[in-house]
């Protein structure tokens, strides 16, 4: 188990380097653009070159990469070009909010889709058709459209929830719950669509397996066999869908945070992009890549915990 964990961890670190290097390369080949974008078309070539020198963009790409890497290892992501605070501080203040949102969504989506998927596989009938319908609609309709619908109905028309803003959990748990309900719902739909269908498929396959009959023949009740044995064996594929979905959800969170005006990474990313604030955006890329890698690692470990055969691989 330890070797398995270490190997996955090493994989993640290699991937992180690759992501970061590609980002650097992209920045390097278009270095002229960046300063030009910020300074405007009237700026002279000398001004652009001076700006590039100030940001170190005229150095060889490997030197830039090395300098950034040394900084990043000391949790210093550089100073943004368009804001006073260091990038790492800005991100540190906003990351928890985004993470709260996506992890809450993941948990909500996982619970709902496991229940829906199991019931659809076991009972069939209208709930099965409902899961297939959700699978189609939730997959096709982008989360931000759902967000618009929710805002229009529940916040604008019915005044049930706050349309915008975020209240810290520590400040007021009830208001916090009200402020995250709509964003989480909007983000969760596509996850529920994908995972519920996967759970439904794996459970209905697993129900026909020999050991299910044998366990029942030994006196275990149907529900016990389904929720302990079938679900555990169906868990692996569902978890990998959850992992894929999580990556998409991080992107979705950017838009949903912008819609609900939640001060997470989303608005920060949008603002930084609009101002061509490269250090800030690169810091964001790094942080999201770390989050994705950590989440994938957790999912790999959970899969291994569920399925003893994976541990050998």
């Amino acid at each position: 188990m330890l070797r398995f964990t270490l190997r996955r961890l090493l994989n993640g670190v290699v991937m992180l380097f690759a992501v970061r290097f590609i980002a650097f390369f992209l920045l390097h080949i278009s270095a002229g653009n960046v300063a030009r974008n910020i300074l405007g078309n009237q700026a002279s070539v000398a001004d652009v070159n001076a700006k590039n020198a100030e940001w170190g963009l005229n150095k060889p790409v490997l030197v830039q990469f090395w300098e950034w890497l040394v900084g990043a290892l000391h949790f210093d992501l550089g100073s943004p070009w368009a804001s006073a605070l260091p990038v790492s501080e800005d991100i540190a203040a906003r990351l928890p909010i985004t993470l709260t949102l996506v992890f809450l969504t993941t948990i909500v989506a996982a619970i709902i889709s496991i229940l829906l998927g199991v019931v659809a596989a076991v009972k069939g009938g209208w709930i099965d058709r409902f899961v297939q319908f959700i699978g189609l609609v939730g997959f096709a309709i982008p989360g931000f459209l759902v967000a618009f619908g929710l805002v229009t109905v529940f916040a604008v028309q019915l005044h049930l929830f706050n349309a915008i803003g975020y209240v810290d959990f520590a400040t007021d748990p009830v208001e916090w719950a009200k402020s995250v309900t709509l964003p989480v719902t909007a983000l969760a739909l596509s996850g529920v669509a994908a995972i519920a269908q996967q759970v439904r498929g794996s459970v209905s396959d697993a129900l026909n397996l020999d050991y299910v009959r044998t366990l029942r023949a030994r006196g275990l009740s149907f529900n016990r066999v389904v929720f302990k044995h079938v679900l555990r064996n169906a868990g692996g594929p569902a978890l990998s869908i959850l992992g894929v979905n999580f990556v998409g959800m991080l992107g979705g969170a950017v838009i949903v945070e912008a819609i609900f005006n939640i001060p997470g990474l989303g608005p920060y990313a949008v603002a930084a992009t609009g101002k061509s604030d490269v250090p800030a955006v690169m810091g964001l890329v790094l942080v999201t890549a770390v989050v994705v890698i950590v989440v994938n690692l957790i999912i790999d470990l959970l899969t291994a915990a569920l399925n003893p055969k994976v541990r050998l691989a």
């Binding site: 366990l215 030994r218 819609i259 609009g274 955006v281 890329v285």
Partner: protein, 597 residues
Amino acid sequence: MTTTTIVTLPVTKQESLLKRVLTNPSGIFSIGIIALVVLFGILGPLFSPYDPAEPDVYSLLAAPGPNHWLGTDSAGRDIFTRLAASTNFSLLTALLAVVIAIVIGVISGLIAGYFGGWFDSLANWLTSILMALPGLVVLLAAASVLGPSMWTAMGIFGILLSPAYFRLVYVTVRAVKNELFVDAARVSGLSDLRIISRHILGVVRTPIIIQTAIIGSIAIAIQSGLEFLGLGDTANPSWGSMLNDAFGKIYVSPILLLWPSAMIALITLSLVIFANTLRDELERTGAKQTKVKKGFTKSASQLANDSSASETIYHKAPNRGAGEQILKVSNLAVGYPDGAGGLRQVVHNVNLDINKGEVVGLIGESGSGKTQTAFSILGLLPKGGRIVSGSILFEGQDLVNLPTAKYDGIRGAKISYIPQEPMSNLDPSFTIGTQLTEPIRQVLGLSKKEANKKAIALLTRVGIPNPELTMKKFPHEISGGQAQRVLIAGAVSCDPDLIIADEPTTALDVTVQAEVLDLLRELQKETNTALLLVTHNFGVVADLCDYINVMQFGRIIEAGPVRDIFEKAKHPYTQSLLDSILEGGPARGAYVAPKGN
């Protein structure tokens, strides 16, 4: 009345895939919507006298009317005109992403899959990196570096999407590469390029179309999302920028959100429905689905068939009358839906008795209905199967239509089961110990410690060396013979009155078969449990059974004490079964006459 859907074999001749999609309601619906949206983008501007970007301060936020069909936005621009212009822009930028993804993904997938080598490893590694990247964040990074151009952004998004095609083509090529028809093409001297274009692209063409519909809907969603965030060039009207504009006026005029939202929802939904329809039709390959009514009963023809069938040949068994009967199966009939609203009966009028402590054989070829009879007694018929008529009296209680909760109290505790294939009958995710003790604790109400002790004792009894260690192992870590011993231990763990063993040795090596049979015989003698032995092998029944039932075509055709069946078989089928074991059957020990008579 509930209905159930089952698949039957193709009845009509196979139609072309395109024709099947076009005649499918959801297929024609989704294609129609996609076509309408595209036409709206092309023709819409021709019908409108307005310029999509021209503000009109005299008609801000106008309601829909004859001048402005869908009203105007906060700058007084005509919404119909903007919507049509946006449709063009949104579809074209999404198309760019899809085309780039196809070009990169398909070509690299073909090369990596067909030629392999270093390119294969590199491409797969890059793919796993690309798939781990949150697309939107990368697009934000690109936009910050390259400036706000939706064309650039969607071009980069195309690269991010290419793994979807790469994986698809790669997997298919890997699977097809060694198929016979590709070998044949190679032998006949076709160049690699010809083989790829003629034979392999033909196989992946439809999956690529399906993938394209899905990728297209994702590209449209992302494109709109980026525009909504204000990261596109503001000069071009797009669904996303219309949403951005409308969202600012959500309290004033929420209907502004409706138009672009409806367009996005329509096109993404239609694309996904189209993809699903195409995939369903592709997977169906001609099979037709029929709705079947549940709750069927025996048809008149079945009843006539039952009564006209030949009677069972019974050999006299004078000693049996004295025993205490624990199981009496009478006139059992089992059926499955035949897909045409009727019933396909697999077990007909089966009568079967078992006395306390008796070993009864149920013998027949595969498909003779013996396993269905066994599952009926356990109340665990596969999905769709049901007992149509008859009764199963176990210790005086009829098990047919017994409530599940009551049945759960009988299974494991009083009737237990030894399956055929040991490996697939153990849950791969739990240790032997957990699987063994879970039902013991449930049925006998023992504590974890007591159950563990009992399980170790059972494993020792069934001849597992080092039982403490085996308790901690997973099913894939033990041999098939050991797995079968574990299952036997499980079956006897709660001291049942009847054990149903379904081909308990068939899946094992010949040497292990003999050992497992010995174990079964010893256990049966020790506990004096009744045993119903289901098998196709006369060698096995000769060794163990007191009484034999021979099944063919779902009926018991001959029944009697083991010695009578072996020496004086009357039914020609029984005789042929006996002959076959003498000719080429598996090795078995010397025939031991059953004790008693």
